[in-house]
Symmetry: C2
Subunit: 327 residues, 2 copies
């Protein structure tokens, strides 16, 4: 675990869907709110963008970028100076405490793995997303880093997720649930049945299977699933909110005025913009992935989250939990 300058975040300036100016704007906002930020990307371009915002921030030059349509492994091989690769290496060498990127998740995963390596005993990293619940928040992992998982991966996600929830949510003893399609142990598919058995003997507060409608009920603090299922679950949530807002907007033109604003308020608790990002848990370094469709505000929130997680020592705490349990 490298000990980078406390609070300094290496921000991959490339990769957000709306372009680097959004990242630069978000980084400036985060910096003004007290975060230490270094921008990583084409130096010339970043200087021009900073000038447009009348701001200055340190820059690490990385003339290349991985685009969304590229195979991440091939792209990283062909582009040794890609911004996400340079950002991860910059932090791994001890010059920053953490990395934030709103770029290609797969490329971020591979670059992070190459630069930091994994925590001993962890087979796969997981994207840990914070979701809203009726009573507060919960951690869902994996949100999309691993589309095909084995039961042992899910068990490790449970251990790492509990350690992460202690830091991120302040839970004393997080309740860990397994996302499945029925509450009884025998319900689910081959993967969840096997994972249920492994989690039952793991040293976490395992509360058994959770149905998908319990994701937001507050019944669990940590929700474990494979990355395919986690991605589906989160994106269904986004889709439902979008549909409801569209219906409400149509309806409210002829009904009470306050509704649209009220619904937007309720729906905003689901948006990726609010949380800002999700750390790649299991990597031996702190790397936070933002949503590709992030606004400048979402980028700023993501950088602030990264700074908080660095300060909370999330990587050493997950490493300690993993060391106790998995080795």
């Amino acid at each position: 675990m490298p000990a980078g300058p406390s609070g300094l975040i290496a921000v991959d300036a490339m990769g957000a869907d709306d372009g680097p100016h959004v990242v630069v704007e978000g980084a400036i906002e985060a910096s003004r709110s007290g975060a230490g930020v270094t921008l990583v990307g084409p130096a010339e371009l970043l200087r021009t963008l900073l000038q447009q915002f009348n701001a200055t921030l340190p820059i690490v030059d990385a003339p290349e970028a991985v685009t969304m349509d590229e195979s991440p492994l091939v792209a990283l091989r062909k582009k040794p100076r890609a911004s996400i690769k340079v950002a991860c290496e910059f932090a791994a060498s001890g010059q920053a405490a953490a990395v934030f990127s709103a770029g290609h998740t797969g490329a971020t995963l591979f670059a992070a793995h190459a630069a930091f390596g994994m925590l001993p005993g962890v087979e796969r990293p997981a994207l840990a997303v914070i979701v809203p619940t009726r009573t507060g928040s919960a951690v869902l992992l994996d949100a999309g880093a691993n589309v095909d998982c084995r039961a042992s991966h899910l068990m490790q996600f449970g251990v790492m997720g509990a350690a992460y929830a202690e830091v991120a949510l302040g839970c004393a003893r997080p309740r860990v649930g397994l996302l499945s399609i029925g509450e009884e142990a025998g319900k689910g598919n081959d993967l969840t049945r096997e994972a249920h058995a492994l989690l039952s003997t793991a040293p976490v507060e395992f509360i058994g299977n959770l149905e998908a409608r319990q994701l937001f009920s507050g019944d669990a603090d940590v929700i474990v699933c494979d990355g395919f299922t986690g991605n589906i679950a989160l994106k269904v949530g986004e889709g439902v909110v979008e549909l409801l807002l569209a219906k409400l907007a149509a309806a409210s033109s002829s009904r009470s005025e306050g509704s649209a604003g009220l619904s937007a308020e309720a729906a905003s608790s689901f948006s990726a913009a609010k949380a800002g990002g999700a750390p790649l848990i299991g990597v031996n370094g702190l790397v936070v992935v933002g949503h590709g469709r992030s606004s400048a505000r979402a980028i700023a929130n993501g950088i602030a989250l990264t700074a908080r997680l660095a300060q909370g020592g999330v990587v050493p705490r997950v490493a300690e939990a993993v060391r106790r349990v998995l080795n």
Copy 2:
């Protein structure tokens, strides 16, 4: 394919979470709206319940019932006169056109399979649910009949789902999408990548992968997935709506009054009560599964849906599509 009396629906009176009186009340409501209904369950009990509602309906005696905590195969073996088994056999013998049950999905699946058999060429039946979209409705299958699927199953779901959408939604040439975690063909897990290749050569209007947020966008008329993923997707939708309603209720006590009603209106389009049920497509008979948590109104809607599907000839039309494509 048995040719039961047109429009007569055998209703499994047992199995709804709130008890047989809810099913009886819903069946009476459906009957008053013009559906032909036969109740299947303990005759004595059903007569008493009908008296309480001052109504009469034909009864087929079935003194046993499969409960939610039983293993369906074991229960069906131990209880040869279970209501779902008797209802399926009643319809398979030509005495009813279709079966409706709000009971144990697994037991319904096995009883239907035993009584009707499968359509030739179909390996697995699928639960086909109608979901709301921005532009109308779409069919999602499998919603939970098969938790572990092979790619060939998903291809067959696409073919059957397209035939079902023609009847249920009136689509001329339904657009079939594969639920995955990225739009490109290479995105997804092992199962979806293989299914993508099979669906690409199947004689359906295959539009490729759909992200989960596109479930409700109207981009596809038929959404194909394994039963684990489908169940997760639908139940996340329910959970999000419940969470939003809870948040709106809390907020609206101090805000505009119209909001709660308006939101309930928008949210109701997601509720199982509205659609009423989902047919088991691929079985050589018409069996519609209602939500266990159904209200009397939901039961009535489910019976009405069953009658419409029987009248639309959904089973012969799916059989014809399958015959053309799979054999």
